[in-house]
């Protein structure tokens, strides 16, 4: 589903990504963990076509990022720690707006279904600004899946959520990940990163420094590997 080879991204003289090589299979849930400033958000923003790579190859569903931006975006659902919804529009208006932009048909049924899924049916006429942080994140998730994307990109989706909202989002993330949907999630929280994924990668200072299958890993083992990788890179 995703092929990345030698991906470099610089902002002036600062290198955010320094030659990332990564492959993600269709239907796989990959978590990328790393400390602040490791380049996680930059990597996801490039995959979402919000940033152009400085050099390197990025292919999504066989489409080259340089030429197939519009087709790639049709396949992507993006959730970040910011909701990407208009605070002055109601919950329903936000979903109708994004549904029309993505040419979703029949839109009314899809909006009703998603509002039920994320538990915002009772707030459909409330302006988005009146929602709690957790509710806004649930609305953001509904926005991101309105066009039934085959690839979900989740950039620190748990940031700023309380325990209850985190629990609900985790349940929702499980429901939006049927076998056909590929998910790439970044987080600096190892526990959250480990619990949903099939495979885990550690990004430090713009490079993938470790990759492994989730199956044999315990949280303690992951913590050891993580600190080893991150400290080695810092040294």
């Amino acid at each position: 589903m995703i092929q990345i080879q030698g991906l470099v991204k610089s902002f002036g003289h600062t290198y955010a990504l320094q030659g990332v090589d990564l492959e993600v299979a269709e239907g796989e849930f990959l978590t990328i963990v790393g400390p602040n400033g490791a380049g996680k958000t930059t990597l996801l923003r490039i995959l979402a076509t919000l940033l152009k790579p400085t050099s390197g190859l990025v292919r999504i569903a066989g489409l080259d990022m340089a030429s197939g931006g519009t087709e790639i975006r049709r396949r992507i659902g993006f959730v970040s720690h910011r909701p990407l919804v208009y605070s002055n529009l109601t919950v329903e208006e936000n979903l109708y707006f994004y549904g029309r932009i993505y040419d979703v048909h029949p839109l009314g049924e899809r909006v009703d279904m998603l509002l039920n899924l994320v538990g915002l049916e009772g707030r459909r006429h409330s302006p988005a600004r009146t929602l709690s942080r957790g509710m806004q994140q649930r609305l953001s998730l509904a926005r991101a899946v309105i066009h039934e994307p085959s690839l979900m990109l989740l950039d620190e989706p748990y940031t700023g959520l309380d325990q209850q909202a985190t629990k609900m989002l985790r349940r929702l993330l499980q429901t939006i990940n049927p076998e056909s949907r590929t998910v790439v999630m970044t987080t600096h929280n190892l526990e959250r990163g480990l619990e949903l994924c099939d495979r885990l990668a550690i990004l430090s200072r713009g490079r993938i420094v470790h990759q492994s299958e989730k199956a044999p890993l315990t949280l303690t083992e992951l913590q050891e590997i993580y600190w080893q990788c991150v400290e080695e890179k810092t040294d």
């Binding site: 902002f11 979402a48 076509t49 919000l50 940033l51 152009k52 519009t70 087709e71 975006r73 049709r74 992507i76 993006f78 970040s80 910011r82 909701p83 990407l84 919804v85 208009y86 605070s87 002055n88 529009l89 208006e93 707006f97 994004y98 029309r100 932009i101 993505y102 040419d103 302006p127 926005r143 066009h147």
Partner: protein
């Protein structure tokens, strides 16, 4: 067809949000009103024939108030990273540009439409004439075309409120000069033959600004 449907969807979103808050419109309207009052008092003291300065005052007011509106319009897209939401949509980035540009044109035009009767009353001059309305529409179109592109650039900078006028005013100078010349000619009752070069100049710049802004928008929004 899909292009225009998406452009209309973006305009619909801006209009619905604006009807709810009236943030863009009220800031432009109040600012324009204050400018008229200040100009009126200043000219009462020094200028003998006020009608001669009306074209300049009219366009300075529209440009300053419009700049405020452009800043606010794009700032609203930056709240909660909504611009990212638009950029993620499967459409050419030029579609977003057209949607935002036409939305800005609508808001600025409504403010201008409300200001014209006030201008007419304050300066005791009939400004509601078809030729003048056409000039205002063409001048505002050029302003909105380049202003939407530059406000998108400026909104990502730290001093965006200052950055937009610094970038915008030198570039829209040809539009403002031709609009002021046309306005002066219309108010003086000059024949169309003598105004035609300025009209062509204004239409030409509108087209150039629109095409360049449409083509470069993708480079401006993608880092």
């Amino acid at each position: 067809m899909s292009f225009w449907r998406k452009v209309l969807t973006i305009i619909w979103k801006d209009v619905v949000a604006e009807l709810r808050t009236k943030e863009i419109f009220s800031s432009m309207f109040v600012f324009a009103l204050l400018l008229i009052v200040i100009f009126n008092f200043s000219f009462d003291l020094r200028v003998e024939k006020v009608a001669e300065v009306v074209p300049g005052v009219l366009w300075v007011t529209f440009v300053f108030a419009g700049t405020l509106g452009l800043n606010r319009s794009l700032a609203l897209e930056m709240e909660d990273a909504c611009l990212d939401g638009l950029l993620l949509a499967p459409m050419e980035r030029g579609t977003i540009y057209f949607g935002k540009m036409l939305g800005n044109l609508i808001f600025i035009s409504i403010t201008e439409a409300l200001m014209l009767p006030i201008f007419s009353a304050v300066f005791d001059l009939n400004l509601i004439r078809p030729a003048l309305l056409l000039t205002i529409f063409l001048g505002t179109s050029g302003f909105a075309a380049v202003g939407t592109l530059l406000s998108t650039m400026a909104v990502n900078t730290r001093a965006r409120e200052v950055m937009l006028p610094v970038l915008l005013f030198p570039i829209i100078l040809p539009v403002v000069i031709s609009a002021v010349k046309l306005t002066t000619g219309i108010l003086d009752g000059l024949p169309w033959d003598s105004l035609a070069p300025w009209l062509r100049f204004l239409v030409g710049f509108d087209i150039i600004f629109l095409v360049i802004s449409y083509l470069t928008f993708d480079y401006v929004v993608q880092g």
